[in-house]
């Protein structure tokens, strides 16, 4: 008999995937402007580091939050003992309001239908435990966040069946893709319990369109299954088209009193919008009281520290702060996004047009030796080990077309981003170009634009063994 459980010995946690290997390389040789300027720059981490100063200055003006005080009175004891899985009421109220604000107040959220969890990681797993039995399946549009393989499947025993999306239509979810995924699940003898989307999308950085949301609602209604909308990036939408939550569509279509309403659930978190992943703040919002009840009980396995609940309840209750923060954060993200996109363009690299998120979905298909995932991984390794950028290969996100990469832009300083872009340009143009002048560089680039891929392969692969595939 095996000493440990099957879970302990399998690799469904996904940590052997390439997504994490890049991280490991980064850990061994992390970039530092001064101490390690040749190190690997982390561009695989979807963090939002752009707006901490806004929170820090709020803290400077609000000492009560810092000192476990409410209106001057110490509430330390109260917080130290508070482990009620219903959560701190003032915090849930503040979260419900904040979520509303993020949706332009076009929908409102009832704090009683909110369940607090230790991060979106826990929220997604908990919803799986509530909605799916072992062996049941959820359909997910590709490409999707690699962590879902662990969060949705590992301990729950649930399965993921992909809804294939392609660059042919900007990776939009189509009716036929939904049907095909459902049929595929049936062929595999898997009972489909629902669909999970991330809106705005990780890794695409796009918001889901109203058309797609309508298709999804029609689909889950027909099939009598659930829809989970992970809206963790809802506050990172920096330009048009704006963010449309599935809750809005339900409201617009007057579906509040129908079956389908109870089968739509939202996951949210403060890890991306506010850049506070360390605080482990996740939320499940469900219109179904039964799900709220079951998820609340399960939240015992991952409650939010009362100290953190309290701090955030005061922060988010300050409407001046939240309004200002959301606006300023979006401006900064928009600027940063622009810098990355134009920097990539200068290297002859395009991205999927996006309006949200902390990353771009970058098209490097023209840099592949062949239209295969092996070539993608080869290119990726070059970028990690030689260009010294940790970016995420599309295959780790289950993309069905080789050559796409997710590149993050909000987890570093502007200077670091510039260094990264210079390196990338240097890689694309040739190994010694970092020492060329900008003009010369541009001239050569114009000449070489058509032959970039050939030259890259000639120079980069000269010391490698010939591919056997």
């Amino acid at each position: 008999m095996g000493l440990l459980s099957k879970k302990a010995t399998c690799n469904t946690h996904g940590q052997d995937s390439s997504y994490f290997l890049g991280w490991e390389e980064y850990e061994k040789n992390p970039y530092d402007e001064i101490k390690n300027p040749d190190g690997i720059i982390q561009m695989g981490l979807a963090e939002n580091q752009l707006s901490f100063d806004l929170i820090e200055s709020w803290l400077a003006k609000n000492p009560d939050a810092a000192n476990f005080k409410r209106e001057g009175q110490s509430i330390f004891r109260e917080l130290a003992l508070f482990q009620d899985y219903h959560g701190l009421p003032s915090f849930k109220n503040a979260m419900a309001d904040f979520m509303s604000e993020n949706r332009g107040n076009r929908v409102s959220f009832n704090p009683d239908k909110l369940v607090l969890t230790a991060g979106a990681t826990s929220a997604n797993e908990t919803l799986m435990f509530c909605l799916a039995d072992r062996g049941d399946a959820f359909l997910l549009p590709t490409p999707y966040y690699p962590g879902f393989d662990r969060d949705l499947k590992w301990r729950t025993g649930a399965e993921i069946v992909p809804i294939q999306c392609t660059s042919a239509n900007g990776f939009r979810i189509t009716k036929s893709a939904l049907e095909e995924a459902y049929e595929q699940a049936q062929k595999l003898n898997l009972k489909v319990k629902g669909v999970l989307i991330t809106n705005p999308s990780n890794p695409l950085g796009t918001t889901t369109t109203r058309t797609e949301l309508n298709h999804l609602l029609d689909f889950i209604s027909r099939k009598k299954i659930h829809l989970i909308s992970d809206e963790i990036y809802s506050g990172t939408v920096f330009t048009s088209p704006g963010f449309i939550s599935v809750m809005e569509v339900l409201k617009d279509r007057k579906l509040e009193n129908t079956d389908v309403f109870d089968r739509v659930h939202i996951v949210y978190s403060l890890s991306k919008d506010l850049g506070l992943p360390g605080f482990r703040v996740g939320v499940i919002y469900s219109n179904d009281d039964f799900v709220v009840s079951a998820a609340t009980k399960m939240s015992s396995f991952g409650l939010i520290s009362s100290q953190t609940q309290y701090l955030l309840s005061t922060l988010l209750s300050d409407k001046n702060f939240t309004k200002n923060y959301l606006e300023e954060n979006q401006i900064r993200l928009k600027n940063r996004h622009k810098k990355l996109v134009s920097g990539l363009e200068a290297a002859g690299i395009e991205c999927l047009k996006s309006n949200a998120g902390l990353f771009c979905w970058v098209d490097m298909r023209h840099l592949l030796k062949s239209n295969t995932f092996e070539a993608e991984i080869e290119l990726w390794k070059k970028i990690v080990y030689e260009v010294k950028l940790n970016i995420s290969p599309g295959s780790s996100c289950h993309c069905n077309e080789p050559g796409w990469f997710r590149v993050c832009f909000a987890n570093m300083s502007e200077e670091t981003l510039k260094v990264a872009l210079d390196r990338l340009k240097g890689f694309v143009d040739g190994p010694s170009s970092t020492r060329r002048s900008q003009i010369e560089h541009q001239r050569l680039k114009n000449l070489r634009k058509m032959k970039v891929s050939n030259w890259v392969f000639r120079l980069s692969f000269h010391d490698r063994e010939p591919e056997e595939r």
């Binding site: 302990a8 803290l59 482990q83 435990f129 301990r155 799900v291 079951a294 396995f301």
Partner: protein, 496 residues
């Protein structure tokens, strides 16, 4: 469309719709009563006093003072805000190094410095609740069995089984030997499980025990370590009450046994500790659970799983600082032990005055109270629940009936004493004493009525009192005290 709106069974998972979370149990009746009528010294002096909550409120002042004097440990104060962005951004499931070191340091000190812990083996979890579930996910598959001595903490039914699918089989302990766990009893349960073709993956203990407040002696613990090694099954020891040991107590952690036992007799890959700051420090709100394993694969697996319940980095930072402060820790442990000892003594002495005895114990935040002499029928759990409802409704105390801990003998109750101030404790004791003496006086004429044989003169007074108490309770039963909550013989609580 013909689709039934509320057919939850078809739409939701089995886990979501079964009862394995245990929250429908009668255990919660006392809580519900308390919630409706909670005691407050000035605002509601006749309300129900909560004695069913194993919290440690005795030393929060020490912690609060430390927090006030150490603003740098907070990321929100002027002195500490420079750390804000790094900390707010930090979600590495290894946890802050300083935090792990501080926890390892604290764990060692809580065991009198007799053993040291390796920070590299400290893995975070969402409280001990999360830690216990996680260790099950690491060690057992659905359908596998873990043995557990009873009486045990009621929520284990949820924490160990609900989402994991693991089965737990009790190893019943009885008053005949003061509820001591023996290797023989474990072996017997193990054999029985095997005979039913069950796959036993391990044994889980809480040491010091909840609800007993007793500790395993070194010999027994050593023999248990040898036993699991021989059988190649795991040993999980939940040491959440490690630092709640008071006067006269000598806590032996399984870590000490691992150190002292001959290497040939212990397979350390089988030994795991669950810990938390919720009881020792009284900080359940901060959700600090720890999985500590001597098995590298388990450490690795548990660490990956900790993503589902990491400790807030804000909290990690504060505690890293606090628990690295040796002066604070040493003083805290000493003072906490002292205050708990006093509280325990006051409480048990007060109970003695009402002729109520408790199991001898030197740890925990509660006493294991013997009320068998007050049962209408000593062999009936129904009686226990009736008595329990009388205690809630008449004496106005929420205590926990032994059956909720799967105790196999009716009449035992867990009573918590560290979750209230001194005044409240005195009120509680007063109520118990009043109730007992009032009922004695009332029925002094009815001594001749239907009672058992009085054996000898020494026992005479004792028995007389006890029998009268039983009589008084009988009358209360007959007065139709049964509340709607009274348990039927078909209640799940009688399963054990």
């Amino acid at each position: 469309m013909g689709f039934p709106t509320k057919n939850k069974g078809a739409i939701l998972s089995r886990i979501a719709t079964n009862d394995q979370h245990g929250e429908n149990s009668e255990y919660f009746d006392g809580w519900k009563a308390y919630d409706k009528d909670p005691f407050h010294l000035s605002r509601n002096p006749h309300g129900i006093i909560q004695m069913g909550l194993a919290e440690n409120q005795l030393c929060l002042d020490l912690i609060k003072d430390w927090v006030k004097e150490n603003p740098k440990a907070s990321i929100c104060t002027l002195e500490g805000v420079h750390q804000f962005s790094d900390i707010a951004n930090f979600q590495d499931y290894h946890g802050l190094k300083k935090f792990r070191q501080a926890i390892a340091n604290f764990m060692g000190k809580a065991r009198g410095g007799r053993v040291t812990f390796d920070p590299e083996r400290v893995v975070m979890s969402g409280g001990a609740t999360g830690a216990n579930e996680t260790i099950m996910f690491c060690l057992a598959d659905p359908g596998d069995v873990f043995l557990i001595p009873s009486p045990y903490y009621a929520a284990f039914d949820r924490d160990l089984r609900w989402r994991t699918g693991v089965e737990i089989i009790p190893v019943p302990c009885s008053s005949s030997n003061n509820f001591k766990l023996t290797v023989e009893a474990v072996d017997w349960a193990y054999k029985k499980a095997q005979e039913s073709n069950k796959k036993v993956k391990g044994l889980i203990l809480t040491n010091p025990s909840n609800p007993l407040g007793t500790m395993l002696d070194k010999d027994t613990l050593t023999n248990l370590v040898r036993f699991v090694t021989r059988k190649n099954i795991h040993l999980v020891v939940d040491e959440i009450y490690a630092a709640t040991v008071f006067a006269g107590g000598d806590f032996v952690s399984v870590a000490e046994v691992v150190n002292d036992v001959d290497i040939s007799e212990v397979n350390v890959d089988l030994i795991h500790i669950v810990y938390s700051l919720s009881k020792d420090m009284g900080l359940p709100g901060f959700r600090v659970g720890i999985v500590y394993s001597y098995n590298d694969s388990v450490v690795s697996c548990a660490r990956k799983m900790s993503s589902f319940g990491l400790v807030s980095s804000q909290t990690q930072l504060m505690l890293a600082s606090m628990l690295s402060d040796d002066r604070f820790v040493d003083n805290f442990l000493m003072e906490s032990s002292r205050r708990l000892g006093i509280r325990h003594k006051v409480f048990t002495t007060g109970l003695e005055k009402a002729d109520i005895s408790c199991l001898t114990s030197n740890a925990g935040l509660f006493a294991w109270m013997d009320l068998r002499h007050l049962l209408r029928d000593r062999n009936s759990f129904e009686s226990e629940i009736e008595l329990w409802h009388i205690i809630i409704d008449k004496v106005k105390l929420n205590v926990s009936p032994g059956s909720s801990f799967r105790c196999t003998e009716p009449g035992w109750f867990r009573v918590c004493f560290a979750n209230m101030d001194d005044d409240t404790l005195h009120v509680a004791l007063g109520r118990i004493q009043d109730f007992v003496s009032k009922n004695n006086n009332k029925i002094v004429e009815q001594i001749s009525e239907n009672d058992q044989v009085i054996q000898n003169n020494n026992a005479k007074k004792q028995n007389w009192r006890q029998s009268n108490l039983r009589l008084s309770f009988r009358r209360l039963y007959e007065d139709g005290l049964s509340s709607p909550g009274i348990m039927s013989p078909h209640s799940p609580l009688l399963r054990a």
